[in-house]
Subunit: 480 residues, 2 copies
C-alpha cells in the first residue's frame, strides 16, 4: 500500500531541464494542480498557505502605514473601462468578457477585472470632494483575470491572486513618495520573508504600465539566468483623475485633480520563491514564509515511547509559536525524509530511542543538509536560532548568485556574452526607444529597470547600440 520509493527521483534535475524541474516541483510538492479550466490553476492547501504567509506580512505593513482594505466589483462595464485610452489599449487584448446574465444578453458587456484602476477612480470620483478627504489609501486583496495564451503555474496564468493598492493624494510629491515607499515594503518582504534580493528601479517608458507616468519594479534573478518581475508600483500623475473627473477643493479653496498611485504583487512571488531557492530534492522554503517550519519525525517509531516523545517535542515547538507538523504515520522514516525535503520544510527534527535516552534530538537543515544534535532542554531556543541562520544563509546565497550575474557591458558583443552567461547585462543607455527595441530584436532581452543605484560603468559613457553619449544605467536581461 505504501509508496516507499524515494520520491525525489521523480523530479527532473535542474540541469537537465529547468522548466520541467519547476513544473515537477509545483505539482509534486502539491502547491498547485491544473484545473479543467484552461489556463486556470488550483491553489492547493500547501501553495495557498504560502500565499497566506505573504498576505499576513503585507497586510500588517499596509495597515501600519494607514492603508485600508476595500472590495470592488469583479467586473467592469466595457463603457467604463474605455475611459482611459492608454489603459484600455494595454489590457483589451487579454480580457475575459461576460456577455450574458441569466437568460439575457447584456447590452454593456462586463470585463472580468484584469486590474481595478477604473473602478477605484469611478468610486473616488464620488467620495473625494475636499483636501480633507485625502489621502485615500486603499488596498484590495482579490484575483484578477488575464486571458493569456501561454501559462505557467504561478508565473503567468489566466487568473492569479494579488493585492492592488490604489491611492489618491493632494499633491504630486506625496503621491511620488507613496510610489517609492510601497516599493520599499515589497523589497522588505523579499529581504525579510522570502530571502530574495530584489533589484529595484524604474521601468523604461516602453515597459511601463498602461496609463502610468512612471512604473517602478522589483526584479528577481532566477537560476536559469532569466529575470522575473515580482512587483510594480505606478505613479499616474493626474491622468486618470482627469479622465474620470475626480476633483477636490484644495487648501486654497480651488478645484483641482488629485494625484494617484497603484501597486501590486501577486502569487507570482510563490514562483520566484520556488525557483530562487529550490534544488534537485525539491522545494527549499525560507523559514519565515514556510507554512510548516519544523517537521518532527520519529525514527524507529515502533519502539516503545518514541511516538509519545516525538509528540511531546512537537507540542513544545508549537507552544513556542513555531509552525510545526509531526508525521507519526506508519510510513518509513526514509520516505518521510524525502517527502518533507520535497516540501522544502526548513528544519527537520529526528528522534529515535537512543536520542530519547540521551535527552536529545537531531536537527537537519533543509538548505544545506547539516545535522545538529541538541539537548531537549535547549531545543526550542536552538530552533529559533537555526531558522534565523537558515534564512540568512539562503538570502546570502541568493545575493551571491545575483552579484555573480550582473555583468557590465560596453558593446554589443559583451552584451551578447553577458546574456549568454545568464543574468543582467548592465550598460549605459542613451535613453532612446530605438536602441531599446534594437536590443530586444537582437537578443530577445528586455530592459528590466533603470536601477536606483545609477553608479556608472567604468570606462563606458556611450550607448552600446547607437554609440551616442549615454548617462543612464540600465539592466537588460531575458525575462519570464
Amino acid at each position: 500500500m505504501e509508496n516507499n520509493q524515494i520520491k525525489n527521483n521523480s523530479i527532473t534535475r535542474q540541469e537537465d531541464d529547468f522548466a520541467q524541474w519547476y513544473t515537477d516541483v509545483c505539482k509534486k510538492a502539491e502547491l498547485m494542480d491544473y484545473s479543467s479550466v484552461k489556463g486556470f490553476i488550483i491553489y492547493r492547501p500547501y501553495g495557498y498557505a504560502i500565499w497566506e504567509q505573504i498576505q499576513n506580512y503585507l497586510d500588517k505593513r499596509f495597515k501600519e502605514s494607514g492603508h485600508e482594505n476595500v472590495y470592488m466589483p469583479m467586473v467592469i462595464p466595457a463603457s467604463l473601462f474605455q475611459r482611459e485610452k492608454e489603459h484600455v489599449e494595454g489590457f483589451a487584448p487579454e480580457c475575459l468578457i461576460a456577455t450574458k446574465g441569466g437568460s439575457e444578453d447584456l447590452e454593456d458587456h462586463l470585463i472580468v477585472r484584469p486590474t481595478s484602476e477604473v473602478l477605484f477612480c469611478d468610486h473616488y470620483q464620488k467620495i473625494i470632494k475636499s483636501y480633507r478627504d485625502l489621502p485615500k489609501l486603499y488596498n484590495q486583496w482579490c484575483s484578477v483575470v488575464r486571458w493569456e495564451k501561454t501559462t505557467r503555474p504561478f508565473l503567468r496564468g489566466a487568473e492569479f491572486l494579488w493585492q492592488e493598492g490604489h491611492t489618491m493624494h493632494e499633491n504630486e510629491e506625496e503621491a511620488r513618495t507613496e510610489t517609492l515607499k510601497m516599493l520599499e515594503v515589497y523589497d522588505d518582504l523579499g529581504r525579510d520573508i522570502l530571502a530574495i534580493p530584489f533589484s529595484k528601479g524604474r521601468k523604461t517608458d516602453k515597459e511601463k504600465f498602461s496609463g502610468a507616468l512612471e512604473t517602478y519594479s522589483i526584479e528577481a534573478l532566477m537560476p536559469d539566468g532569466k529575470a522575473l518581475q515580482c512587483g510594480t508600483t505606478h505613479y499616474f500623475g493626474d491622468g486618470f483623475a482627469r479622465a474620470f473627473g475626480i476633483q477636490f477643493q484644495n487648501r486654497e479653496g480651488k478645484l483641482q485633480n488629485p494625484f494617484q498611485t497603484s501597486w501590486g504583487v501577486s502569487t507570482r512571488l510563490i514562483g520566484a520563491t520556488i525557483m530562487v531557492h529550490g534544488d534537485d530534492n525539491g522545494l527549499v522554503l525560507p523559514p519565515y514564509v514556510a507554512p510548516i517550519q519544523i517537521v518532527v519525525i520519529p525514527v524507529a517509531a515502533n519502539k516503545p515511547g518514541v511516538i509519545p516523545a516525538a509528540r511531546e517535542v512537537a507540542e513544545k515547538f508549537k507552544a513556542a509559536g513555531f509552525r510545526v507538523k509531526i508525521d507519526d504515520s506508519d510510513k518509513t522514516a526514509g520516505w518521510k525524509f524525502s517527502e518533507y525535503e520535497m516540501k522544502g520544510i526548513p528544519l527537520r527534527v529526528e528522534l529515535g530511542p537512543r536520542d530519547i535516552e540521551k535527552g536529545q534530538i537531531v536537527f537537519a537543515k533543509r538548505n544545506d543538509g547539516q545535522k545538529i544534535f541538541c539537548s531537549m532542554d535547549e531545543m526550542v531556543e536552538k530552533a529559533g536560532e537555526l531558522l534565523k541562520t537558515i534564512h540568512q544563509e539562503m538570502y546570502e546565497k541568493a545575493c551571491r548568485y545575483l552579484a555573480d550575474h550582473v555583468t557590465e557591458v560596453k558593446d554589443l558583443k559583451e552584451l551578447d556574452a553577458a546574456l549568454e552567461k545568464g543574468g543582467y547585462a548592465k550598460m549605459m543607455w542613451c535613453g532612446c526607444r530605438e536602441c531599446e527595441d534594437k536590443i530586444k530584436e537582437l537578443t530577445n532581452a528586455t530592459a528590466r529597470c533603470l536601477p536606483f543605484n545609477q553608479m556608472g560603468i567604468e570606462g563606458s559613457d556611450t550607448c552600446p547600440v547607437c554609440g551616442k553619449k549615454a548617462t543612464k544605467v540600465v539592466l537588460f536581461a531575458k525575462a519570464y
Copy 2:
C-alpha cells in the same frame, strides 16, 4: 467648511420606513457604496473591516478543526457545470456567463462561479484515491456571482463575499457529523461575536440547496419581523461523487464513492448585524466584531493639555489590545458624538479639562447611552468589562425579541395573526409539499426550518392546512 449638523437626522426612522432606514445606515455609516456595475456594491473600508473580523474568527475555527484553505478558478466551463443535473437547474437562471476571451469567441462558455461544488468535485476526482486521502477538509474564501434582479446591500447582490467549505469523507456518519459541526461553528459566531441568536434546523426539501440531500440553516429574526437565512450547511451523500466519478479504495480494498458536505456564510451576516442591533441613531456594532471598539473624543479640545491627555488615554487602550480610534480633529465634540454613534462604535470615551484634573474619563455605551465615570487608573480593566457587558446586553436583547416573536399556531387563522405580528409561526406539519406550498400561496411565508428542538405544541397534533396527523414542528416566516 464643517458639516456641523446632527448627522443622525439624515437617517430615516425605523418605524417610518425600515427598508429605507437600512439603506440609509449602509450608506451613511460608509459601509458600502453603489458601483457603476448594476447590482454590484463596493465594500468600503468600514464595511470590509467588519467582514475581516468575521473572517478572523471563522478562519481560526476552521483551521483548529483541521480545515485547509484552497483557491479554485473563478469560472466554470459550462460543460462541467452541467454534470450534476439538479445543481445546474438550480443555478442556471442566475449565472453570469463569459463568452469571449481576448479576441476569440469561447467554444465552451465560462460561468462565473455562483458556488464551487463542481470545481471541488473535479479536483477531488483527481486527488482522492484511497481512504488514506480522506477526509479532505477544504475551505475557500472568495466572491461569487448570482445574477439577481432585485438587490439590496449585503442581503442580496450580484456579487458577494463568502467562504465555502467543501469536504469529502469515508462514510456517511462522518459527513453528517461534519454538516452539523460546521452549523455549530456558525452558531458560535452568532452568539459569541455577532450577538445574534440563530434558530437552527433542517430545511424542508422544497427549500434545500440544489443537489443536496439535506440542508441545515441558521436563521435570524429581523426587527421588521422577517427572517433572514444567515448560513447553510449541506449534506450531499455521494450524489456529486457519483456524477463526477470520485472513487477511493476503502479499508476493505474495495472501490467506493466518498460522502460530501459543503457549507457557507457570506457578507449577508453584515446585513443581519446591522438590522438586528441598529437604532434610529444608526449602527450599533457588537464589540467583538466592531472594527473600532473604543473611540476617544477630547472635549473642549482647545484647552491646553486636553489633546495630549486624550492621546495618552487612547495609547493606553491600544497597548491593552483594544481596537481604538481617537478623533482629535477640529470638528465639534457634538458632531463627533453623532458621527460615532452613527458608526455604531460600542464604547465612547470622553475627557475634558475637568476630567483630566480629577484623573478620570467618561465612558458612554452605544447600546443604551449609559455613562460611567472611571478613574484613569482603572479605565483599561473597566473597558474590557464594559465591552463584555455590552455584548451580553445586546445578545440578551436580541434573544428577548426572538422569544417574543415565536408564536405557536394551531390553525390558519392563528398562522395569519402570527405572521401579521411578525416573526415565526411555529406549527405542526404533516410534512407534505402541498401544505407547504399552500402556506406560501396564502401568506407569502416560507418554511424557514424544522428546528432541532422538535418539542411539540401543546394541544396540537395536526397540520393546520390539511388537518392530517402531524409529527414535525416547523417554523414559518416571511423572509428576506
